[in-house]
Symmetry: D2
Subunit: 422 residues, 4 copies
């Protein structure tokens, strides 16, 4: 995990920018919105603001500042997410019952930690190199939580019967006709997988290794809402032969008949909740999102295709020149809606048919940071690509996101693959 902050921005500045962004993302919220947890996977926004702060305090200030006095030791219990090595913590599903600490306390806590980290970065501490590494790590951690903040806010507002808009910015519409039916083609052979180069990466992107792949094609465009509507109208949710058994049992038991946030009006027309503008008609040209792995897998079988493996995805991305997205395009968007951009990065997280497992010679870190990625390597699937809610500096070709197969509240989407080159 080497330095990735470019030379024009000091780490101290970067730290402040990241920290301010978390608070800025919460600006549209009402006080009530900060507190609740309508679903066990969703954390209250005030919890996110506290947890990322605790990460800096607990892993940097408490470790490296001599005689550091914690802001309030009672907060540890609230803001430790899952680090067994860091002591007891609140039951995850109980986060939404905690009205205290209040938001104002948490904002004070943030200011306190920000100041102390800034002092530490400006100091000549004998372990300044390690501290800088950890601050960079903490910024990446906070960026992950910025994406979770957005998806958790979407759940809180999008399951409220008033469907309040998060932002009034109009939803973008565009056609994606240009990309339909085009493929990235990758030939049989060995391909290099994993993070190369000097920038930051997570431990789970290592070690770099070779994977042997057979000829395949990968769609240049994501599956669109219109495509998915055809699957729905063709009885896709009822046709068991399209599904994994576990998948159709999931759909049946929860009566799932459409992506998350989709509702039908009295005339049968499909609407979906969007952060920008609230409830909107579904635009058939834009990428489908908020689908589970089960749905993505069934859709692909219906379409006569399959999901790519994470290795195919990464190999195709490298063939395509890295998939890096136009900066302007990325930073323009503040309505947090995936576009039919034709890029591999930055619209939806793309379900793959790879289980989240360690790479060969995976370097699991010692101690608490070894809990970060390494203890979730079972019964989850890998997603690739980054979404419209991912901070741009947090997306890259080798990034491995992972969720259980029933999860839909992230901006998850579908990209198809086929055997052979034609």
């Amino acid at each position: 995990m080497t330095k990735s902050i470019d030379s024009n921005t000091s780490l101290a500045d970067h730290f402040l920018v990241v920290r301010q962004q978390s608070v800025a993302l919460c600006a549209p919220l009402r006080p009530e919105d900060y507190v609740v947890q309508p679903y066990p996977d969703v954390s209250p926004p005030k919890w996110h603001l506290g947890h990322v702060t605790w990460f800096f305090e607990n892993f940097i200030l408490a470790e490296y500042v001599d005689g550091y006095t914690p802001y309030d030791t009672a907060l540890n219990w609230f803001f430790n997410s899952y680090y067994e090595s860091q002591g007891p913590r609140i039951t995850r599903s109980n986060r939404g019952n905690m009205t205290r600490p209040e938001l104002s306390t948490i904002l004070d806590y943030r200011r306190h930690v920000d100041e102390r980290i800034a002092e530490l970065l400006a100091s000549d501490h004998r372990e300044i190199i390690r501290i800088r590494e950890l601050v960079e790590l903490g910024c990446h951690h906070e960026q992950q939580h910025q994406e979770l903040l957005l998806t958790d806010i979407k759940y809180i507002l999008g399951t409220n019967p008033f469907f309040p808009a998060y932002t009034d910015e109009p939803v973008t519409t565009e056609t994606q006709a240009a990309y339909q039916g085009e493929y990235l083609k990758v030939e049989t052979g060995l391909h290099t997988i994993g993070h190369e180069g000097s920038g930051f990466c997570w431990d789970n992107e290592l070690s770099v290794h070779q994977v042997y792949l057979e000829d395949f094609r990968l769609a240049t465009s994501l599956v669109a809402n219109g495509d998915y509507l055809r699957f729905m109208r063709d009885g896709g949710y009822e046709r068991f032969e399209l599904w994994q058994m576990e998948g159709i049992e999931w759909a049946r038991s929860l009566e799932v008949k459409a992506p998350l946030y989709w509702v039908q009006d009295e005339s049968g027309k499909w609407l979906h909740y969007q952060l920008g503008g609230g409830l909107q008609p579904v635009d058939p040209s834009l990428p489908v999102t908020h689908v589970s792995w089960y749905e993505a897998d069934a859709y692909a079988r219906w379409a006569g295709a399959r999901l790519p493996t994470e290795f195919e995805w990464e190999a195709a991305c490298k063939v395509a020149g890295g998939g890096v997205r136009n900066d302007q395009n990325w930073s323009d968007r503040t309505n947090f809606q995936p576009l039919a951009s034709g890029d591999l990065l930055g619209d939806t997280w793309e379900w793959t048919n790879s289980a989240y497992l360690p790479y060969p010679r995976y370097p699991r870190p010692e101690g608490a940071l070894g809990e970060y990625n390494g203890k979730f390597m079972v019964n989850q699937m890998v997603l690739r690509g980054g979404s419209c809610a991912t901070p741009q500096s947090h997306a890259r070709v080798s990034y491995r996101n992972f969720f259980q197969t029933d999860k839909r509240w992230q901006f998850t989407g579908i990209r198809l693959a086929w055997d052979g080159l034609s």
Copy 2:
């Protein structure tokens, strides 16, 4: 249900006093405290503020004001508690996930409804008598919710690890030695049960009827914390022969070993959360509270006594001159803590060994108001007496409260009875 507002207070004034009291009870809360539902029986404070308002709008304004335009029809869905006749409603356990309507919207809604009710009361509406009856009923309904507000707030704050105080008013301490070992004695014969006279009562307090009772004694004092600690130290929670089978299975499965809100410090000393002052040492002289029917029943068996029936309780109360409590004493208290007052009304709700069932010739009202009490008459037990959280004008000898046998978040306590006169 005839008029009970005394001649010195107009109904319009009474209405405003009651309405203001609900808002006043919430004054100590932080914005976060209004939203959550840490337990399915506990409703968010902002929900209570809205629901009681909906009751006035839905059953009075919408019924009796020609061309009344609802404040916002979307609110019905939120604030209908359980009236099947009044249309669909939010799943009860989902109330705590609703961040909207915001508190500010609900306070606006309250002001709107208050003004319209005041106008209606001042009008010469042709059904003004029925309207006045319903306004009085709505005030009693709101007073019930004032007690629930306090017990729900106690749950929200008392299960938070910071144990924030609701009020800083010091907890009262006093001795109850004077009452120990004294009895109210009631002789064999027929006793009149049910609400008599011209004041307001609920339907379930009717019809007035005769019950034949055998000689019994009822303790003048409530069971005290010190008594209950002796039961605990004597292995009361493990001695199956003291319990109903359902009761000990409840205690075992939930690992219940003390009343709700009791916690043991490292030295083994018992503390309990109190609205006044937060976490406090348990005072052995004050009444035990926050016990389930199961615990009350087991305690009584341990003590060589039994719980009274609701008929015995009411007969004893009448023998004792009505149990009406000294006004000064009642209104003095704003820390919401039961005292060892020796009164039958106003300290804790007292579990009886009577199931909540209709009285002979019970006059179940037609329509929605028939749902108010009449559809809960199974698998609940009757409590009598009113608690420190009960508005004084809401307590009376014939009042029948009812809860399931495992409920403990109300101010529930224990009064013992014995067969025979000596």
Copy 3:
């Protein structure tokens, strides 16, 4: 509990008759039928055969025979039902997973215990009076389990898609027109409740006491299947105003739309499983059975009536001359089907609107036998009358049966009551 065996039958003979009857009731079973527990309340038939035997061994032989060697101490763990005082025992819901002890072992166990009890009864043991009391108690206990054997067998066979008949004896049909619309009338005043006289009774039928009742009528006939079909066709299961809230939530969550064992054929005709003959058309003239308290309560409200209290039922029974049923009629039946007999005893258990609570001065026995009835006195309702599956010598006017409000696998039925004499 004084002697009730008539002078023409010795207790030793009575014991053997009762013991043989349990085995005889199992004669129609296949080996597989003895083992399973398709519902937690249903016990495997082989468990019943063992449990009643353990009762005699554990409470009589082990207590009164010097140096008694248990048949196999490992059996205690299996056959203790719920006596906490008698040591650990198998989790109730796990009974149906126990393939051992085998049936053949249990039948050996029965023979062993039968012989030893016979020896003991023939001896001049110094506590022979207490022993005879306990043997009589054990016979009544076994008769209770004979009824449970029949209802559990009915569940095992009646929920199997082959609907195998228990007996091929034809189902009786008859009309009940003669009884329709007739009442037993009881006048206001004090009535004596509880078991009087010298025969056997359970502790819960004591103490004898006075209850004050107001004028009421009780139907001479049970509600018939045809009546209940009218309720069903009138939307009874959907009309919330007819139900207790807990009741309609029960019906909705389990999708209950008819009594237990009723199934509709393709043409919409209702059939029900009967021990005699298997699946049969529902006969509208016979009493409805296998309904929960919730259904009985809703039906009564639909019919403009109510359920009687257990006190009204007993008082009416005494007014009607004791309700004792014609012997011939009772013993004739071996197809275990309720008839429209017009008797108060012996067709269905009749739900009352009385909670199962102790009578005044209830004499709860010391020790294990105090667990028999006394620890179930919460959240159950009383049923009166005895059913077609009740041994005749086990039915009487003061008998109090009790079950939770959702239970339907017993032969439960409905008798209506009304306020006033006309």
Copy 4:
């Protein structure tokens, strides 16, 4: 799936041998043992005997015999396991409540189907080649169920407090010292994975493909009970850093502290239930079995090793000459206990760190047989090697078994791997 029956055995003979073996495996059972389902994954032995028969009737007789009359169409509903395409079926967890069809009916059903299959094989049916393929497939299917029969019987008897032996054959003991510390070493490069040659294989063993592996070592011996006891005594079940988070939460919530079937006597000595002989002391020299993937994964981390991938396992097996086990050794054993044989096949199924996913160009069959393996390819892990309960002709190097990560009732064990060649 080409023919694999050797030239000395006709398919008709093979069919009869396989069919007789299923019945023979049940010979030690008591009638009661055939019926129960103490755990949802465990099926009643009589269900297995019926289901494998239904497979032959439904997929061969009903398809290929003109005018075939099913033995009893009602049996379809019972014996269809999970084939959505073959119509409705009993809820899996309800199998153990079905006392009918009786065992005797099922044995008649078996004889009927055996005769008709024999007739068909002897006929000159125009599709005889396809029929022979399907009969061979059905035999493999039945052999899978023979293993399940043994593991389900072990669960039924091994969780019964009498711990009845399935067979009295003495348990084998032996030392495994010879194998300790030896490795199979495999060098970096491309390896061929999947079933090659002309014998039978399942669809999921195809297509044959290349996988690039890095240098690794694989232990020649399985982890022994003595090794696992050291892990337990070292606090292995409490040390969170050894576990996947999902794994330690599984162990905590179910209070798992040892492999399935292990119990501690009063002196602290570990015993385990064995089919041969019942409860026995744990032999430290024999392989540990009945562990979940979670436990295997944690053990490997404790031992400073890791689980192999399924590709490493297969590559090492081929390097070692195919892992084929000595016939004599295999067939000798009728006590169904894994040995420290040093073979890769035939002792325990070995958990790998590979998720069960399709191979490249996986040829999912059309129709019902496509449901056989292809619809379970999510959230399961691959096991390799075959166990002491696997029929010998059913084990091979390319065989992919798969179970969820919490399953322990199969004969599952652990083989360690390490990065590098030394």
